[in-house]
C-alpha cells in the first residue's frame, strides 16, 4: 500500500457534531466533543485534533448522542474515526477508511449481499450496520482477504466464479466467514451460507466448487505447517 493511500485511509474526518439540548438536559451527552475536522497523524491512538466550531445548539441538524469517535480494526490495522450517528459502516469503510470493496446494488435494503464485510467473525451487511456501533470491532473486507493471500482468491479465479466481478467481494467475504467457522463445508453448507449473495451474471454454479477447493487448500496449508 502506498504511503499516499495509507495517508488517505487514515484520514477520518467528520463534519461538525454538536449536542442536542434534550440530551444535555438528560445528562447523557457527556462524550460528544464537537470538533471539526479531526485529522489523524501516524499514531492513530493519539489523534491530533484541530479544534473547530463550538458545540452550541445553534449548529442545527448535526445532533449526536453517540460517542462520535470509534476505534476499530480494519484488515489488521487500527483506525480511529469520528463518525456521525447516521453513517453506515459501508460509508465509513468506503468514504473515510478508503476500502471500496463493499458495493451497493440493492440500494441499502439488505437484499443483495454486495456490501458484505466480516465483523467480529460474522458476515454482515455493512449498508445496514451503523458505523457508530462498530467501536472495538474487528472488520475484514475483501481487500484484507486478498492481502493475506487467502486461497479463496486463487480458487475464485481458477473456477471462474465471477463474470463482471461486482458482487464478488461480498461473496468472498461471506465464504471467508464460512471457512473460518467450518473448515470442511459440504456443497450444501456453501449453498446455504452464500444464499444471501446475489449475482446478476448467474455464476452461482461455480461458487460451491471454488469455496470447497479453497477449504481443501487451507487444510493442506495447515497440515504442512
Amino acid at each position: 500500500m502506498s504511503e499516499k493511500k495509507k495517508a488517505q485511509e487514515l484520514e477520518c474526518a467528520a463534519k461538525g457534531i454538536s449536542r442536542r439540548s434534550f440530551l444535555r438536559d438528560a445528562g447523557l451527552a457527556a462524550a460528544v466533543p464537537a470538533v471539526a475536522p479531526i485529522a489523524l497523524g501516524g499514531d492513530a491512538s493519539s489523534p491530533r485534533r484541530e479544534t473547530g466550531a463550538g458545540d452550541g445548539p445553534e449548529r442545527a441538524g448535526a445532533e449526536c448522542a453517540c460517542p462520535g469517535e470509534v476505534e476499530l480494526t480494519v484488515n489488521g490495522e487500527r483506525y480511529h474515526c469520528t463518525v456521525e450517528p447516521h453513517w453506515s459502516l459501508r460509508q465509513l469503510l468506503r468514504d473515510q477508511v478508503g476500502y471500496t470493496s463493499p458495493k451497493d446494488w440493492c440500494g441499502g435494503q439488505g437484499a443483495c449481499g454486495s456490501c458484505t464485510v466480516i465483523v467480529d467473525g460474522r458476515p454482515v451487511l455493512s449498508c445496514l450496520t451503523l458505523a457508530c456501533e462498530c467501536h472495538g470491532t474487528v472488520v475484514e473486507t475483501a481487500e484484507g482477504i486478498a492481502k493475506e493471500k487467502h486461497p479463496l482468491v486463487e480458487a475464485y479465479i481458477e473456477h471462474n466464479a465471477f463474470q463482471c466481478g461486482y458482487c464478488t467481494p461480498g461473496f468472498v467475504c461471506t465464504a471467508k466467514a464460512l471457512l473460518d467457522r467450518n473448515p470442511n463445508p459440504t456443497e450444501a453448507d456453501v449453498r446455504d451460507a452464500l444464499g444471501g449473495n446475489l449475482c446478476r451474471c448467474g455464476t452461482y454454479q461455480q461458487h460451491p466448487p471454488a469455496v470447497i477447493a479453497a477449504a481443501e487448500e487451507l487444510r493442506r496449508d495447515r497440515s504442512r505447517s
Binding site: 442536542r20 453506515s88 437484499a111 454482515v124 445496514l128 450496520t129 452464500l194 444464499g195 444471501g196
Partner: protein, 320 residues
C-alpha cells in the same frame, strides 16, 4: 445509495433507560436493525425517528439457556445463533428451523428474535418508499391493496381494514410451541402477542420492550416442524409458512403470512387431535385449515390458499 436523514443515537445501558427514551417520544429501538434501518432509509413511514436507542449495549438480553426444562432466549439473541443451537434444535426443532429459514444468512447474523417478532407487517403499498401510499395502516383512509395488486395479501380477511400480512417466520413456531413473550412489563402468551396497531404489529405499549422469549418443555413424545414456501428459498419472506407441534396428547398448528397476525389453525387441530396422523388425515386437516379462507376480489391471492393447505398437510406429516 440513499443515506439516512440525521438522527441522534443513544447506547442504552438498561431497559428502563430505553423505555424512558420511548416515553419522551419520536424514538425508535434498534436491535439488529435489519427492518428499522431499511425502513428509515426509504422513509416508508410518515414519521422519521429523532432518536435511535441502541439496545445491544444493555447487558443480559442475549443468550439461550434452559431453566427447569423451560427454554429462555434473550430478546437480542441473533437468529443464526438460535438456528445453530444444539439445545434448540434438539427439543424445539420448529423454532430452530424457523430461525434458519428466516431471510438470508447475513440478516440472520444481524437480526434478533425480539426484532423478528416485532417487525412491521408487509404489504407493498405500506412499504413503498417515501410514503407514496398513505394507507390505513399509516393513519390514512384507504387500503390500496383492496383494489390494487394483492397477490401476497391476507387470505383470512382484513384486520382493522388492513390486508397486510405478518411476515415473521419465528412467530408461528413460537405459537405452535406454546411460547410466551417476556416484556419490560408482563408476560404475554405468544398467541396473544400480535395485533395490528398503527403502525406496530404487536400488543406492546408505546414504552414496552421485549426482553425474552420463554418456551415450555415440549410434552413427552411431542415433535415439532416448520415449513416455509417462498419464491427464492434462500432469501425471501414467506408466501405462507406453517409450524406444527404434535404428540403428547396435544396438537398446535399455526400459519403465518396469511393474515395480519399469525393464524392458529384450530379447525385443523380438531381434525387431528387424538388421532394418529396419516396422509389422509393430514390432508383433511389441510382442508379444514383453509375452510374459512377467502381469496380477495379478483382472486389474485387465491394461490396462497392452496399453499397454506398443502403446508399444513406436509408439516403435520413431518412432525408425525
Amino acid at each position: 445509495m440513499k443515506t439516512w436523514k440525521k438522527f441522534a443515537h443513544i447506547d442504552a445501558d438498561s431497559v428502563g433507560q430505553a423505555a424512558d427514551f420511548l416515553r419522551r417520544g419520536n424514538a425508535a429501538l434498534l436491535a439488529g436493525g435489519t427492518d428499522l434501518l431499511g425502513r428509515m432509509r426509504f422513509e416508508i413511514l410518515p414519521d422519521y425517528p429523532e432518536v435511535i436507542v441502541n439496545l445491544k449495549t444493555i447487558p443480559g438480553l442475549r443468550g439461550i439457556r434452559e431453566e427447569g426444562g423451560k427454554l429462555r432466549i434473550g430478546a437480542l439473541t441473533r437468529l443464526e445463533d438460535i438456528a445453530r443451537s444444539p439445545l434448540v434444535r434438539s427439543r424445539w426443532a420448529a423454532l430452530a428451523e424457523a430461525a434458519h429459514r428466516t431471510a438470508s444468512p447475513h440478516i440472520r447474523e444481524m437480526g434478533t428474535i425480539g426484532g423478528n417478532i416485532c417487525q412491521l407487517n408487509r404489504c407493498w403499498y405500506f412499504r413503498i418508499p417515501d410514503n407514496r401510499f398513505h394507507c390505513i395502516r399509516k393513519g390514512g383512509k384507504t387500503c390500496y391493496a383492496m383494489a390494487g395488486d394483492n397477490r401476497y395479501h391476507s387470505i383470512f380477511g382484513a384486520l382493522k381494514s388492513c390486508l397486510a400480512v405478518n411476515p415473521s417466520d419465528t412467530a408461528p413456531a413460537l405459537v405452535a410451541l406454546g411460547a410466551s413473550i417476556r416484556t419490560s412489563r408482563r408476560l404475554v402468551e405468544a398467541e396473544k402477542f400480535w395485533d395490528m396497531s398503527v403502525p406496530g404489529s404487536t400488543v406492546l405499549e408505546p414504552d414496552e420492550i421485549v426482553t425474552a422469549i420463554e418456551i415450555p418443555p415440549p410434552p413427552p413424545g411431542a415433535k415439532s416442524a416448520f415449513l416455509k414456501f417462498a419464491i427464492r428459498k434462500s432469501i425471501d419472506f414467506p408466501i405462507v409458512n406453517c409450524a406444527v407441534m404434535t404428540g403428547g396428547g396435544d396438537v398446535r398448528i399455526c400459519l403465518n403470512a396469511v393474515h395480519n397476525r399469525p393464524w392458529r389453525a384450530t379447525a385443523a387441530e380438531e381434525v387431528v387431535r387424538g388421532k394418529a396422523v396419516d396422509e389422509a388425515l393430514a390432508d383433511a386437516a389441510g382442508a379444514a385449515a383453509v375452510a374459512g379462507a377467502r381469496a380477495l376480489p379478483g382472486d389474485r391471492n387465491k394461490w396462497k390458499i392452496q399453499i397454506a393447505r398443502t403446508l399444513v398437510k406436509r408439516a403435520l406429516l413431518a412432525s408425525a
